[in-house]
């Protein structure tokens, strides 16, 4: 159980703090872009790009943070929608969408694993990894079309692991009554991680990280992000996990580094997929960002990694009612 004070959505000071800080960043960045536009220092295309990004964030942030504040069901529902959007983009980019049986199975798996989270049924939640591997493995055998079996099945398994089983951990966290500060911290920390990598990379420069995978990332940017994100997550984490076995500096720093490294790995994972496909963005849903996956790639690995770290030390929803829909 994550320690939490009695009261509503804003009972925990970290929740309030993150919301206020987010609104402040949004407001300040809006003013900064306004100043940049008025002063005429930036080229028109660059200004347009900045406004597009900022506008997308104004729509995106309420959609991300709102459900977390509203409650458990909303959080899991939002993660389900996010998973489906991510899968849709992946399927269209890789061509897996043409395999309608397999594609329907992955969607079914995504719905099932999020249902398990909603039901607070941990047994089913973890059982869906091997069960879905079996199902996806046999799903296209009856079509009697062995050509491409390995490739399509592998694409489907990767999709379920990343967007189904992996991302669902974020929603499952909401089964703990004290989930709000942690989930909000993860959502904002991965965004900060991207910004920190971009900023320190621009400020310091130096050798490229993995030029063939992602030509704009530098080693200095990556290390800068690790330092900034680890610091932030460790400090905020200390306020969330005070009095638990995780509330010790060594583990808090480990958690912070995990968020940063797993976030960057998720980013590089998607870059690898895009490079292999020869495309720039996964979609066009978010003006200035690209697709949903381009925005949420960092969460893909952070969600399960942090879930199991916190689960090892603290546990999620251990005293909350289980199997609330299916009963015992």
């Amino acid at each position: 159980m994550i320690p939490h004070p009695e009261g509503g959505a804003f009972a925990h000071p970290v929740t309030t703090g993150i919301i206020i800080a987010t609104l402040a960043v949004l407001g300040v960045s809006g003013l900064a872009i306004l100043w940049l536009s008025k002063s005429g220092r930036a080229k028109p295309e660059f200004r347009r790009e900045l406004w597009l990004r900022w506008g997308s964030w104004c729509v995106l942030l309420p959609l991300m943070l709102g459900p977390v504040l509203l409650g458990r069901e909303w959080t899991i529902g939002a993660v389900t929608v996010l998973s489906l959007f991510c899968y849709r983009e992946y399927a269209r980019a890789t061509g897996l969408f043409r395999e309608r049986v397999l594609s329907a199975m992955v969607v079914l798996g995504i719905l099932a694993v999020n249902f398990a989270a909603l039901d607070h049924w941990y047994g089913f939640f973890v059982a869906l990894w091997p069960l879905m591997a079996c199902l996806l493995g046999v799903a296209t055998i009856p079509l009697d079309r062995p050509a491409g079996y390995i490739q399509r099945t592998a694409l489907a398994m990767l999709a379920f692991m990343l967007f189904g089983a992996g991302l669902a951990h974020l929603g499952y966290m909401a089964n703990d009554p004290g989930y709000r500060p942690l989930v909000l911290l993860l959502l904002t920390a991965v965004a900060l991680n991207d910004v920190a990598a971009f900023t320190s990379g621009k400020l310091i420069g130096g050798p490229k990280l993995l030029p063939a995978t992602s030509p704009n990332k530098t080693v200095s940017g990556s290390l800068g992000a690790v330092i900034v994100t680890t610091t932030l997550v460790a400090f905020v984490g200390a306020a969330i996990f005070r009095g638990t076995p995780l509330g010790n500096p060594v583990w808090l720093v480990a958690m912070g580094a995990l968020v940063s490294v797993a976030g960057q790995m998720g980013d590089l994972l998607l870059s690898s997929i895009k490079r292999d496909l020869g495309i720039k963005d996964m979609g066009t849903v978010l003006p200035g960002h690209g697709g949903v996956l381009d925005r949420f790639n960092s969460l893909l690995l952070v969600a399960p990694a942090v879930f199991h770290l916190v689960g090892y030390f603290v546990g999620f929803g251990l005293s909350a009612p289980t199997r609330v829909i299916t009963g015992h």
């Binding site: 399927a91 980019a93 969408f97 309608r100 495309i279 720039k280 066009t284």
Partner: protein, 247 residues
């Protein structure tokens, strides 16, 4: 073992509105489900309200790709032809619809794209590149095109001459053209009427397929494809050749 390639959707990177109007639009699960539901609804309506009958279904090629061509008197025509198909052919059927009407605004485009799986044809300004895209997709994606080569609905019931655009899709390929004759569509939903008129019978007769693998892919070839297809469709008209029509 075959070479296996990752093939992103042809419409990847298009904005949602552009995607609806794109000739490269490829359906996903949502599109398939909506299209299947719509097709079943249309099938139920046609058999209940117009006692829709299909003859000559054995003339349909076993597998896509192919092109269905028919006389055109009504908005029911494309719906009826799509409703006559089953299995993969039904899922891959695309009706060629007038862009200026069916893709005039996003709401109508969404209906045309998701329900009837229409692809826009821009009357009077269809570009060569568009036709090349359609020709390429027909063969590569194993599609079924539902095409009315007269270009517009007949106001009188008499069939007009076929336009050569059909030839640009199939000349010099093994892709069959299946002539069809729709009987009763003008009475069931006249071009002058805003809604269909129930309880008027509708019948579809499917003729044996034509192939144009030996026809040159040039202007003369396209004309000859159009002429041959037109003759084959006319031959199915029960009022033109009653004694020879056995069925």
């Amino acid at each position: 073992m075959q070479d296996w390639k990752l093939r992103p959707a042809r419409d990847l990177g298009l904005s949602p509105a552009d995607r609806l109007r794109s000739l490269s639009r490829e359906q996903g699960l949502v599109g398939l489900a909506l299209n299947a539901a719509w097709r079943r609804g249309v099938r139920a309506y046609l058999s209940a309200a117009h006692s829709f009958r299909v003859t000559g279904r054995e003339n349909l090629p076993a597998e896509p790709p192919y092109v269905l061509v028919a006389n055109h008197a009504s908005h029911l025509d494309a719906l009826a032809l799509a409703a006559a198909l089953r299995g993969p052919a039904a899922r891959r059927a695309h009706a060629m619809a007038a862009g200026d009407f069916f893709f005039a605004n996003p709401a109508v485009s969404a209906l045309a794209a998701y329900a009837i799986n229409a692809l826009p044809v821009w009357r009077g300004r269809s570009r060569r590149a568009d036709l090349d895209t359609m020709r390429q997709r027909l063969a590569e994606d194993h599609l079924v095109y539902i095409l009315f080569p007269e270009g517009t609905r007949s106001r009188t019931g008499a069939m007009a001459a076929f336009q050569p655009g059909l030839g640009m899709l199939v000349a010099g390929t093994e892709i069959p053209v299946v002539p069809c004759w729709l009987d009763g569509a003008r009475e069931a939903w006249p071009a002058q009427s805003a809604t269909p008129r129930p309880f008027r019978p509708l019948a579809l007769n499917i003729g044996p397929p034509l192939r144009f693998s030996g026809t040159a892919n040039d202007r003369a070839g396209w004309q000859s494809v159009a002429a041959a297809a037109e003759a084959a469709v006319r031959a199915l008209d029960p009022s033109s050749l009653r004694p020879q029509q056995g069925r």
